[in-house]
Symmetry: C2
Subunit: 144 residues, 2 copies
């Protein structure tokens, strides 16, 4: 018996509105729901990216078990090596610096940037883990 | 242009060895690599779960942009509603308390527990986000 896949990935941000603009407008995630002052929930493929104000989700009064971290977290998004130049161009168009570009021994590449809260984000080829790159997206990818 | 899926999800832990035992033995993730005192990298389906000692990955001296958070983070793993009783039984067998079991308005359920570092983990049906449950695993799921 084993956990089969990650459904929700979580990051903490100090400014939910700035984070929502960044993740929707720049990274292209889909807004699912928001609660001002507490969270912004976004869809990325078959997964959710949950952005929380760490102070608001540490409350033990609600139904959800409390959590909430301080300091920069990290999430990587899959992007083929061929997509990375497009991401560089797109990020540059938004004035977002590329913090680092690493070519790994196995041939995959990683592009690092920061979200507005300072979290470390990465676009990386699945090849960095020894896997094949993802197939090109199809229309059915948007149907859960 | 949009980020298509999450490749790496990250949590911070104070005891990497305890975390490795928990994520491998209890949750069934696959150990990919470890660096004692710094990280344990695990595979979960087509994604990676990265566990870091937050002090060790905050260093600005290495090649990787620094990150590292303190306080309980959160990750959810996909599990069908029919799988949740099996997870309850399994966790009980390891003496791991179920912190909360929530049935959502849309019909999906969430089961909450803590990892040894206190991170909030969840097994949840994709139905909680309005999606179909995942198809049953096949042998090809283990081939990247």
């Amino acid at each position: 018996m084993k956990a089969r896949r990650v459904l929700e990935t979580c990051l903490y941000v100090d400014d939910l509105e700035a984070a929502e603009r960044f993740y929707v407008d720049v990274l292209g995630l889909t807004l699912v729901t928001r609660r001002p002052g507490r969270h912004v929930f976004l869809r990325c493929g078959q997964q959710m990216v949950l952005l929380f104000d760490p102070l608001a989700c540490q409350s033990v009064e609600g139904e959800i078990p409390p959590h909430g971290a301080r300091g920069p977290g990290h999430v990587a998004f899959a992007a083929g090596n061929a997509d990375l130049p497009n991401w560089r161009e797109r990020l540059s168009g938004f004035g977002i610096p590329i913090e680092r570009l690493i070519t790994w021994p196995g041939g995959g590449q990683s592009l690092y940037l920061r979200d507005p809260a300072g979290n470390s984000l990465e676009f990386a080829s699945p090849r960095i883990w020894g896997w094949n790159e993802d197939p090109a997206p199809t229309a059915s990818d948007s149907v859960p």
